[in-house]
């Protein structure tokens, strides 16, 4: 579950070596608080991301986006205080897994691998993976044109585990996947696509729609490259009471219309989402 991409592998090993004894020690004093403990101490620690538009981003020094407005609603709903910290993606899942934060309120795509160390809430959006290309690049018109082209993705992103799906799609047409370039975060991947270092970038349809709306002269949205997938919020594995509390919160926001309105505002459409979802890959 190591998701510390910005590090070279040698550093990664060092991180693992240094963190390992600390992680083994987590049975002791500090662990993700369960619901009773959260109520008793009076606050919930929430971690969000800072550069994942439109889910969460920072505008004029203030956190905004879909998840940050959901947190505003959570502040009204929850009988305890919400303490939020903003981290770059590489620290997010590590922070939840070590118990530093109770919940990651960011778009964590539900994958089978992640369910081994995390428990997910109800999905918060529909996030099928699409590809985006340069508008001027006429060599890509459909999936089969992606044969052998260089693709950019965020390292540690859920799409990496779903690459076999695109591989299978290409193989059906007699093609194969080109070079995969991994970036610490998506803004860098988009920039490199614009600079022609890669031919297409894969991300969720929500993120890519936001991108092409903002820069229509440069980027163009392609077709889906995976089956359906859902992002959700994540708590530490086994913290089911907190997950159930958050699910009740999500259900309430669906019922009172707040969540569909926020989806419409940030994603351009409101989704019909399952209450629970078990990822197959």
């Amino acid at each position: 579950m190591s998701r510390i991409p910005a590090l070279s592998s040698r550093r990664g090993v060092l991180v693992a070596l240094l963190l390992a004894p600390a992680l083994w020690g987590t049975t002791g004093t500090a662990h993700a608080a369960n619901l009773d403990e959260i109520k008793k101490r009076g606050y919930l620690t929430v971690v969000t991301e800072d550069d994942f538009r439109p889910f969460e981003f920072v505008k004029d020094g203030k956190p905004t986006g879909f998840n940050n407005e959901m947190i505003d609603a959570l502040r009204k709903y929850a009988p305890f205080e919400i303490r939020q910290e903003i981290l770059p993606w590489p620290g997010i899942l590590a922070g939840v897994a070590t118990g530093k934060y109770d919940i990651a309120i960011t778009a964590v795509l539900m994958t089978k691998e992640r369910t081994l160390s995390l428990d997910f809430t109800s999905p918060i959006a529909d996030a099928t993976h699409y590809y985006v290309k340069r508008k001027e690049d006429t060599s890509i018109k459909s999936i089969k044109d992606l044969n052998g082209k260089t693709v950019g993705v965020q390292t540690g992103s859920a799409f990496l585990s779903r690459l076999p799906e695109l591989q299978a799609m290409l193989a059906k047409e007699g093609g194969k996947l080109g070079k995969v370039v991994e970036y610490a975060s998506y803004p860098e991947a988009y920039q490199d696509l614009a600079l022609k270092r890669t031919d297409f970038v894969v991300n969720t349809v929500i993120n890519l729609k936001a991108l092409v709306t903002e820069r229509p002269a440069i980027f163009e949205l392609g077709q889906p490259v995976s089956g359906s997938s859902y992002p959700a919020w994540a708590v530490k594995k086994g913290n089911t009471e907190l997950r159930d509390f958050m699910n009740a919160f999500i259900a309430a926001q669906k019922a009172n219309g707040v969540m569909p309105a926020l989806q419409k505002k940030w994603f351009g459409e409101a989704f019909m989402l399952p209450v629970s979802y078990t990822p197959e890959q």
Binding site: L14, D50, E85
Partner: protein, 215 residues
């Protein structure tokens, strides 16, 4: 990029500056202390400092800050991003400063100490009047070098959520999908900060030269 964005980068610059200044202010004397322990060959402590310096010089700052931020809470100590960042910076820079100070101390001719002893100077007076004024001058270029490295190491602290110049620029790029303008602004801020450090070094060197000429 709007004016508000530029202001965001400047508030990041304030974080970078404050963290750098605090890191330097704490790391400099700590490094000197460690170097003196080694120079004076204090039994046991000497070996411990040697191990500390080797360990810290071998640890990437990013690893150290992740360790402090995520591992300390498991020991029941809670630290915020800025505290974790500052602790990591100080621990790191002290190890490097220690070696710069130690090199300067080793460079100090023994006969100077002996001469001071022969006129009956005590240990503290010897250090204040004879050792420090000379060692300080020899160590200065190395220390300033380490300080300018420290300023440029601060973006590493973003990994635990410290918003410095670079992270502020990344955030703006993520919001506007145009990362180049904020990066250029960021670069334009780093340059004068490091230049200011180098100017201090030149000024101190020139002043000591003039003093020597006058003496």
């Amino acid at each position: 990029m709007s004016t508000a964005d530029v202001l965001t980068i400047f508030s990041g610059a304030l974080t970078t500056l404050l963290l750098s200044i605090a890191g330097i202010a704490l790391g400099l004397p700590l490094g000197l202390g460690l170097a003196l322990v080694r120079w004076a060959r204090v039994p046991l402590l000497n070996q411990m400092v040697a191990v500390y310096v080797s360990l810290l010089r071998a640890t990437p700052l990013i690893t150290l800050v992740l360790l402090i931020f995520f591992a300390l809470p498991t020991a029941g100590i809670s630290v915020g991003p800025v505290q974790a960042g500052l602790i990591a910076l100080v621990l790191n820079t002290a190890a490097f400063n220690c070696e710069v100070w130690r090199a300067a101390l080793l460079d100090l001719p023994k006969d100077q100490i002996e001469a001071a002893q022969s006129v009956g100077m005590g240990q503290t007076l010897r250090f204040r009047r004879i050792v420090l004024p000379q060692v300080w001058r020899t160590a200065l270029p190395g220390l300033i070098n380490e300080m300018s490295q420290l300023v440029k190491l601060t973006p590493v602290l973003a990994v635990v959520g410290v918003v410095d110049i670079t992270r502020a620029a990344v955030r703006i790029g993520a919001q506007t999908y145009e990362p180049l303008p904020p990066f250029l602004v960021a670069l334009a801020i780093y340059i004068p900060i490091v230049y200011a450090l180098v100017s201090v070094q030149r000024w101190v060197e020139r002043r000591t030269l003039m003093r020597e000429a006058a003496a």
